[in-house]
């Protein structure tokens, strides 16, 4: 399952997608949990009883602002969360 957390508003698209199929048997030892400087990731049991990462509810409506520190306006080459997730389950839409 591709789970998209975030939103789209007038200013743009701000989604972090998690490919749960790549996440169930995490090959990176749940590195996302510590990689994100704001600790936005969390492991939970989803509706189909799989243990996967998701974005904590309090961050889902403000990703544009919460992720801003990792994304300088002048451009970025790599994000801590996507770099840490070696199975490639985590993606940013912006």
């Amino acid at each position: 399952m591709i789970a998209n957390y975030g939103y789209k508003d007038g200013s743009g698209d701000y989604y972090i997608s998690i490919d749960t199929d790549k996440c169930i048997e995490c090959g990176a030892n749940r590195a996302c949990l510590t990689a994100c400087p704001k600790g936005m990731f969390e492991i939970m049991t989803d509706d189909y009883d799989d243990e996967v990462a998701w974005i904590k509810a309090q961050f889902r409506k403000s990703l544009k602002y919460d992720c801003a520190d990792c994304k300088p306006a002048a451009g970025y080459s790599s994000l801590p969360c996507t770099t840490a997730c070696t199975p490639g389950a985590v993606k940013h839409s912006w």
Binding site: G10, S11, K61, S62, K64, Y65, D66, A68, P72, A73
Partner: protein, 268 residues
């Protein structure tokens, strides 16, 4: 030579007229800023409104309209100023005006009615980078305005009420429309208006601050745009940016128009 800068904002039209003063032997050109002019276009068509505003601005400043050499426009409706020689973005105009007023400024925070943004400027007043909140009412003055309406306070009172609170109530809603219901439920739960006002302004400040961080916060930092008049917002923003000093221009809403007039004057 007289030049004009017209800032066609979403709510109001701001006009600045500049005349250069030649001082014998001085290395730099000095400018005399005439009395700035602001008009609410109301029901008028924007292109008509621009012309009426320009006529009135010249009259108010005692300048013969025919003697204005060059007009530049900025703002959301800049393309509607058909008589302008050229138009520049709000970032370009804002950075230019801010650096003219405060030569050591590196970071310009611009919060108007509909947009909030952080701009990085070099010593010549050129905008080198920016990050903003366009097209979403949550990151700008209109968010505070909608909430002040819900609290039945004027925008000015809203800021003053906020200063009297030392509480930090987080607001969950990020959208202006949803935040209105949140404010209403805070009112129903007897939360003091002071605390609600501060919660709202803290929320706008934190969003604006996140955008400024994207360009980097480098001293000196100046705040321009209509929200300078909101004392509560200024205080919340200063805290969020974590800076010792936040410069505030005397006529914050005219900075972009001034920048525009300067750019018109520097064109040869």
């Amino acid at each position: 030579m007289i030049t004009a800068g017209i800032d066609m904002g979403s709510r109001s039209i701001k006009i600045v007229l500049l005349e250069d003063i030649k001082v014998e032997g001085a290395p730099q050109i000095k400018y005399d800023m005439k009395k700035p002019y602001l008009m609410m276009p109301g029901d008028l068509d924007m292109d008509k409104a621009a012309e009426i505003a320009f006529d009135s601005a010249c009259k108010e400043a005692g300048v013969d309209k025919g003697s204005v050499k060059r007009v530049y426009a900025t703002g959301a409706g800049r393309k509607q100023v058909t008589f302008a020689a050229d138009s520049v973005t709000e970032m370009t105009a804002g950075a230019k005006g801010a650096v003219y007023m405060f030569p050591n400024v590196k970071t310009v925070v611009d919060v108007g009615a509909e947009e909030g943004r952080g701009i990085k400027a070099d010593s010549t007043g050129k905008a080198t980078d920016f990050a903003g909140n366009e097209k979403c009412a949550a990151g700008a003055g209109s968010f505070a305005e909608a909430m002040s309406r819900a609290l039945q306070l004027s925008l000015k009172e809203f800021g003053e009420y906020s200063l009297r609170s030392d509480k930090t109530i987080p607001m969950n809603a990020q959208c202006t429309v949803f935040a209105e219901s949140e404010v209403v439920s805070l009112i129903h739960s007897s939360t003091p208006k002071e605390d609600i006002a501060k919660a709202v302004l803290d929320a706008v400040a934190s969003r604006v601050c996140a955008m400024v961080r994207r360009v980097g916060i480098e001293k000196d930092v100046v705040l321009i745009g209509g929200m300078v008049h909101n004392v509560g917002f200024v205080s919340s923003l200063k805290k969020a940016l974590d800076v010792e000093e936040l410069l505030l221009p005397e006529h914050p809403e005219y900075v972009a128009a001034l920048g525009c007039a300067l750019l018109a004057a520097e064109t040869h």
